[in-house]
């Protein structure tokens, strides 16, 4: 029931609810979860990930507020039919912020620009496998 590619790592510095939120965002953005598709209930996801249900509730609440998930009473929680696009300004800012963080991490460990770019490619490949690789 848990969508493939949704994992939590309690050792990660990112709080577990945030890992779930980001994981869901990634699955929606990559098309692994289609608009209107059901997502696991809080109970099921908490059981599968063995996390506190309150943690899942928190992640889902954020996603509902952001318009990514929609709750249908009595039916469950679904990916929104129309996924809100991220405003251009916010998108640019998020990218720039993330890039700065990554660049500073790379500089800190003394990585070259090429090395950093290769690591970035590898990370892309892990998070959003190219569509060609998937079965139609």
């Amino acid at each position: 029931m848990t969508p493939r590619g949704l994992h939590v790592d309690p050792r990660d510095a990112v709080p577990i609810w945030k890992q779930i939120e980001e994981g869901m965002r990634r699955l929606v953005a990559s098309g692994a979860l289609k608009p209107g598709a059901p997502v696991p209930s809080v109970r099921d996801l908490a059981r599968d990930l063995q996390v506190n249900p309150a943690t899942v509730v928190r992640a889902y609440q954020h996603l509902v507020e952001a318009g990514l998930l929609a709750v249908k009473r009595g039916e469950g929680t679904f990916v929104a039919d129309a996924i809100p696009s991220v405003p251009k300004a916010e998108r640019g800012r998020a990218l720039a912020d993330g890039a700065l963080r990554y660049a500073s991490a790379a500089v800190t460990v003394g990585a070259s620009r090429d090395e950093a770019a290769r690591a970035l490619d590898a990370a892309f490949a892990r998070l959003a496998p190219s569509k060609e690789g998937e079965k139609k």
């Binding site: 309690p10 050792r11 577990i16 908490a46 996390v51 506190n52 249900p53 309150a54 943690t55 800190t108």
Partner: protein, 310 residues
């Protein structure tokens, strides 16, 4: 979720002190457990965990301080409170000759809110043979039977005393599965003492660490993990393995070790800004901060002689 701040905590402990002869078992311990939360009480053997549990169960009269469990003082009200509290003891304590089925039938008479169906369903989900005498069950089956008994009474509060001790990974997984389901379905408050830090790390909202009868810290798991980091770096000042300077002070270092390649330290007051300031200092190179698991935090706080964690 809604008005957690305004509801009464499930447990309220204030200045609780317990003494056995001249030994102080609990030294002015104060903590709250919010209703519906999962509280993990951690500590080494002899840290005072069992004394606190005994006070909560009304088996130990505190020498000083106040203790409220579901709104009333447990001492003297044990039998009435226990209708509302499910307990899974550290040592399985059911009569050896009774089978899980007989235990269920027995307990059904004791608890007004007994759910016989839920009890049978859990036993079969756990794969516990219902007709085998309790004494002949495996350690894992005993633990899961006790959990089934505790949950069938629909408790408002579940008290688990090192419940996964000695359970194999499969039984442990089943155990936590059931706790998570119970939390999702009924919002039961859970208090557990444990040495299984990896197991509770994902589930506990709050963590308290006891050492020598004192509560070293008690806070949200998320906050705790966000402020602890392991920091590794090289410092030109410490090349000669001499005393290291005060470069980490702003991040509240618990301990620092000079290693061959540099310095390794655990800090209790990490933030990104503080770390960046530190890493930019003259003479500091190769600075790296990595998050700690709950187990590593516990070791850093309770494992050292100098157990200060402000």
């Amino acid at each position: 979720m809604t008005d957690a701040a305004t509801t009464t905590p499930a447990v309220r402990v204030d200045g609780l002190t317990v003494r056995y002869g001249r030994t102080i078992a609990l030294d002015a311990v104060s903590l709250d457990v919010p209703t519906g939360s999962v509280f993990a009480l951690l500590g080494r053997n002899g840290s005072g965990k069992s004394s606190l549990v005994r006070c909560l169960l009304g088996q130990q009269k505190p020498e000083a301080g106040r203790l409220e469990l579901l709104g009333s003082e447990p001492w003297g009200k044990r039998s009435r409170l226990m209708e509302r509290v499910g307990v899974v003891p550290e040592e399985p304590d059911a009569p050896r000759e009774m089978t899980p089925r007989q235990l269920g039938a027995f307990c059904a008479h004791l608890y007004p809110s007994w759910e016989a169906k839920g009890y049978d369903a859990r036993l079969s989900r756990f794969g516990v043979p219902p007709a085998t005498p309790f004494g002949r069950l495996s350690k894992g089956q005993k633990g899961l039977t006790q959990l089934s008994l505790a949950l069938a009474a629909s408790p408002e509060l579940l008290l688990l005393d090192d419940p996964t001790l000695g359970l194999d990974p499969v039984a442990r997984h089943a155990f936590f599965d059931e706790i998570v389901t119970e939390l999702a379905d009924r919002g039961t408050t859970v208090i557990l003492t444990t040495h299984d830090l990896a197991g509770v790390e994902r589930i506990a909202d709050r963590v308290g660490i006891l050492k020598d009868g004192r509560l070293l810290l008690c806070e949200e798991t998320e906050r705790l993990k966000s402020r602890f980091r392991s920091i590794r770096y090289r410092s030109e000042v410490t090349e000669g393995r001499t005393e290291f300077g005060n470069e980490l002070d702003e991040m509240d270092p618990l301990r620092a070790k000079v290693r061959g390649w540099g310095i390794e330290s655990v800090v209790a007051g990490y933030s990104d800004e503080r770390f960046n300031r530190f890493a930019a200092r003259d003479g500091i190179t190769d600075a790296e901060a990595s998050p700690l698991s709950l187990e590593e935090v516990f070791l850093a706080v309770a494992g050292e002689e100098k157990g200060a964690a402000r």
